[in-house]
């Protein structure tokens, strides 16, 4: 590589990271603005989630829980769903190709009885319904046993049978706050018909105490890997998602907790069974479908953490998850490339999707390439080591500032990650340590996801479930 080529690489990397830094700073400012606006809004409200939960005219909600080998956490998760303060509720658990004791656990905990329901599924479905069950302990709970077909297919199976006006899609290892359904329905009630989906912040469950009824007392995990993910989640939700939502350009609703209008979800054809990033893909398709009808969809982000999820504490599970996420991003951008820079698709087409498609997608490649180029330039004397050190210091401090700002925003919203002043010191240390090794390791995994996405494309093969070694909600309890 000659000096000219090296300069070109440096310029590309410099421009890329400048745009990245400006982009994230903009998101941070918008997220902060949204947090304070939400607080002011909550103070003005005279009719809120509590009134809605008590109303006899409340709309019906179907909670969809696709599950695959979730024996460790399914019972606690379903209990937390049934404990919601919402009368017009049904919970549909789809046990999709389970090979462990998931069904047995549900049978024992909720006394399931087989029901006589139609087992047919529409053409194109990847799995078939084997049996349907209803709990005699709580008739709001229905369980559908299907053959293996993937998470998106399991969700679609439940959507075919959902009776609620709103569908809440949650992961089988998620635990919900007792008022989560009411708080998620409220934006639909206040916002009118243009609100098609509601997303919410998600908190890491690891390290928290979960009682028998599924109530969570927050606590900081002792697992280093989970601690790193606590910061990543705080950044992703309280800066990324909140910032995009404030700009009216939220491109994704988390698969762990997302409420949709059921009719709109059905009009979109349900979730795409050919991708591993079905949560991102459905939101982009939703934007495209609703705008095709001449309407402007609104996706609301709730900064309050309404959902708790268990994150992997072993490297293998984390690696598989990150590769899958990035592959999903590649597939979604590939599928909806026509929305890129399309004014017809509003802020999503003009801002968030280009940012995802050009920067988030290529970020691992440019990050690793930039590191290699800097090291090479310094070793050949093209750049002084002091400059390299200063740039590295800037990158560390910028990452640190984003992490701490995310924690502060979460804390302002209430029920934050930090429960004791000592936790701040721990997380500050984690934010520093994260920059040396973990960031680069994650970039490598995402690069592998990028390669897998480009290689495999959207081949149409049945996407596998994300494999993760669960410890189970109650065993996540802090010692």
């Amino acid at each position: 590589m000659g000096p000219g080529a090296l300069t070109l690489v440096d310029i590309i990397v410099g421009v890329f990271f400048s745009v990245f830094a400006i982009g994230y700073s903009t998101l941070l400012l918008n997220a902060a603005r949204a947090a304070f606006a939400d607080m002011a809004r909550a103070r003005r409200r005279a009719w809120g989630a509590a009134e809605l939960a008590a109303s006899p005219h409340q709309p019906s909600v179907t909670v969809v829980v696709p599950a695959h080998d979730e024996a460790a956490s399914i019972v606690a998760s379903v209990r937390s769903l049934l404990a919601q303060g919402w009368r017009r509720l049904e919970v549909l658990v789809v046990a999709n190709g389970c090979t462990d004791d998931t069904l047995g656990q549900l049978h024992r905990a909720f006394d399931l009885q087989a029901t006589a329901e139609l087992l047919e599924r529409p053409p194109g479905a990847r799995s078939r319904v084997i049996t349907t069950w209803r709990s005699s302990a709580d008739p709001r709970l229905r369980v559908i046993e299907t053959s293996a077909g993937g998470k998106a297919d399991a969700t679609n199976c439940a959507l075919e049978r959902a009776g609620g006006e709103y569908a809440l899609l949650v992961d089988a290892d998620s635990l919900l706050e007792p008022t989560a359904v009411a708080q998620a329905v409220l934006p639909f009630i206040e916002g009118g018909e243009q609100v098609v989906a509601v997303s919410a912040a998600i908190r890491v469950l690891n390290g928290s105490h979960v009682d028998e009824a599924g109530r969570v007392t927050p606590g900081l995990t002792r697992s280093p890997l989970a601690l790193l993910q606590c910061l990543e989640y705080a950044r992703a939700f309280h800066i990324g998602r909140a910032g995009w939502a404030a700009l009216g350009a939220l491109p994704v609703v988390s698969g762990a907790f997302g409420m949709f209008r059921t009719d709109v979800l059905r009009a979109c054809g349900g979730l795409d069974v050919d991708t591993v990033g079905e949560d991102l893909e459905i939101v982009l398709r939703l934007h495209a479908t609703v705008r095709r009808d001449g309407r402007r969809p609104e996706i609301v982000f709730l900064g309050e953490a309404l959902c708790w999820t268990e994150v992997p504490e072993d490297v293998a599970s984390l690696r598989a998850q990150r590769i899958r996420w990035h592959r999903g991003l590649v597939e979604a951008v590939n599928r909806h490339g026509g929305m890129l820079f399309s004014p017809r698709h509003g802020a999503v087409g003009m801002v968030s999707l280009p940012f995802l498609g050009l920067f988030e997608l290529l970020a691992p490649l440019v990050e690793l390439l930039g590191l290699a180029a800097l090291a090479f330039a310094a070793s050949t004397g093209a750049i002084a080591w002091t400059v390299v050190a200063a740039l590295a210091g800037f990158a560390v401090c910028f990452g640190l500032a984003l992490g701490m700002a995310a924690l502060l925003l979460e804390q302002i919203r209430g029920r934050g990650l930090v429960t004791r002043p000592r936790d701040v010191a721990v997380l500050l240390l984690v934010a520093i340590v994260e920059q040396f090794g973990h960031r680069q390791r994650t970039a490598w995994w995402r690069l592998r996801g990028l390669a897998a996405g480009l290689r495999g494309g959207t081949s149409g093969t049945t996407p596998a479930w994300g494999e993760m070694h669960h410890r189970g909600a109650r065993s996540v309890t802090a010692p």
Partner: protein
């Protein structure tokens, strides 16, 4: 020259970022300390510090509602007609001496861009409880400015005249209004059985949902 620029840019940017990080961390620690102190104090004290730490969300909502709503038992009487263009902000209004107030509030509700204010106006219309108010609420559902759930909650508080307006809405050409009226009327008559038929295709469908189990009584 170029290297000098990068050096100074990185150093200055790094110092600013580090200062921001330390400031945010200090604010986090302060908030968590305040929350810990609030947790050891009384419930009203917890509600005052509701935006921080581990205070339960329900308590925050109750506190926020108490803060926003007028104190119970002290309605704000309207002693003269509000000027054109003025927006009702809060409070209970009485329409006994002001026929047509429901129509005025309905017009405001149609033009109000803020969703929270629209809900507040709907609440005032529900408190008025007359025929005009009921029609204004039904119009709100027809034009989509308020959700059927909000309208239903407030229509159900109305009096006899509001009931007549709801009964007339059973023949409304707009499916949303018809289904809302059907649901309200059907709650206490045999029409309940026909409600799902009338509300087919409407976004406000009161489908029968299974009831939660009732806790066993004392033996």
């Amino acid at each position: 020259m170029g290297q000098h620029f990068f050096l100074w840019f990185a150093v200055a940017g790094g110092i600013v970022a580090a200062a921001c990080a330390v400031g945010c961390a200090a604010a986090c620690a302060w908030i968590s300390r305040a929350a810990t102190q609030a947790a050891t104090q009384s419930a009203p004290a917890q509600a005052r510090g509701a935006s921080v730490g581990q205070v339960p969300m329900a308590l925050v909502q109750v506190a926020a509602a108490q803060h926003a709503a007028p104190p119970p038992g002290s309605p704000q009487y309207v002693t003269h007609a509000p000027p054109d263009g003025a927006q009702p902000r809060t409070g209970v209004v009485l329409d006994g001496n002001y026929p047509g107030l429901g129509r005025v509030l309905g017009g405001w509700m149609q033009g109000e861009p803020d969703a929270i204010e629209r809900v507040r106006i709907a609440q005032d219309l529900g408190r008025l409880g007359g025929a005009d108010s009921a029609r204004a609420l039904l119009d709100g559902v027809r034009t989509g400015v308020i959700n059927p759930t909000v309208a239903a909650d407030n229509l159900a508080r109305g009096g006899f005249e509001a009931g007549i307006a709801v009964a007339a809405a059973l023949r409304d050409p707009e499916p949303r209004v018809r289904s809302l009226a059907t649901t309200l009327v059907g709650r206490c008559t045999p029409l309940e059985r026909t409600a799902p038929l009338l509300s087919a295709g409407s976004p406000f469908r009161q489908r029968p949902m299974p009831e939660p189990p009732t806790p066993p009584g004392p033996t």
